[in-house]
Symmetry: C2
Subunit: 125 residues, 2 copies
C-alpha cells in the first residue's frame, strides 16, 4: 500500500521492456489478432508467445476476447496505457523488424484463420 503507484509504473514498464512484447503491441495497432496469427508472424514457440501475451494483459496493455477455441488479443482501451503506447509508436515505426512484422501482419490477416492455424499444426508435426 505504501508504493502502489510506483509498483504499477514499474510493472507496466517491465511489461514493455522486451523486444517481442513491443513487436506484439505494434502488430496489434492494425487490429486484434488471434494467438496463432501472432505466433506465426513472430516465429516463436506458442508457449512463449502465450506467456508474453499474459504479461501484457496483466499489465493492462492488451485485452483478450475468446471465440471458440481461438483467443483474440487487442490493444487495451485504458487511457494511461494507451497514452504510454502512443509515445512508443514514433520510436517503433522506424524499426526494420517492426516494419517487416507489419507487412507480415497484413498478409496473415488476409488468410482465413482455419488455414493459419492448420499451418501451425503441420509445422509442429
Amino acid at each position: 500500500m505504501t508504493n502502489q503507484t510506483l509498483r504499477n509504473s514499474v510493472d507496466g514498464l517491465k511489461a514493455l521492456a522486451h523486444p517481442v512484447r513491443l513487436r506484439i503491441l505494434a502488430l496489434l495497432r492494425d487490429g486484434e489478432l488471434c494467438v496463432c496469427q501472432i505466433t506465426q508472424t513472430l516465429e516463436l514457440a506458442s508457449s512463449t508467445i502465450s506467456e508474453h501475451l499474459s504479461l501484457l494483459r496483466k499489465a493492462g496493455f492488451i485485452e483478450e476476447r475468446k471465440e471458440g477455441k481461438w483467443v483474440f488479443y487487442a490493444l487495451s482501451e485504458i487511457p494511461e496505457r494507451l497514452a504510454l503506447c502512443e509515445s512508443l509508436w514514433t520510436w517503433l515505426e522506424g524499426d526494420a523488424a517492426v516494419k517487416a512484422d507489419a507487412r507480415n501482419g497484413v498478409k496473415v490477416r488476409k488468410i482465413p484463420l482455419a488455414v493459419t492455424c492448420c499451418a501451425m499444426a503441420k509445422k509442429r508435426a
Copy 2:
C-alpha cells in the same frame, strides 16, 4: 542495424523499469543532485546508486556534470527521453515513496554539500 530502433526503445524502457531508477528521476525533477545526496536520500550503497545512475545515463535519461570530486546528475534535455519522462510524472506523483523522496530532497538540498558527504563518510565508519 536491422533493429536499431527497437533495441533503443527496449533499452530505454528497461532503464526506466526499476523502482529505484524511477525514484531517482523523480528526485531530479526539482534540479540536479550529486551522487552522495541521492545516495543519502534513497538509503542504498553508493555503488548501487552509481550503477543505477550509469544505466540511466547510458539510456539518455540523465546527464552528468563533474565539479571537483563531486558528480552531479540532472534530467537529460533529449526531447524523446524528456517526453517519455513527462508521461510518467502523473503516475509517480501519487506514490507515497516518491512523495517522501521529494520531501527529503527538499531537505537535503538545503544542507551544504560538504556536510551531506561528511555524514556519509561517518556512516560508513
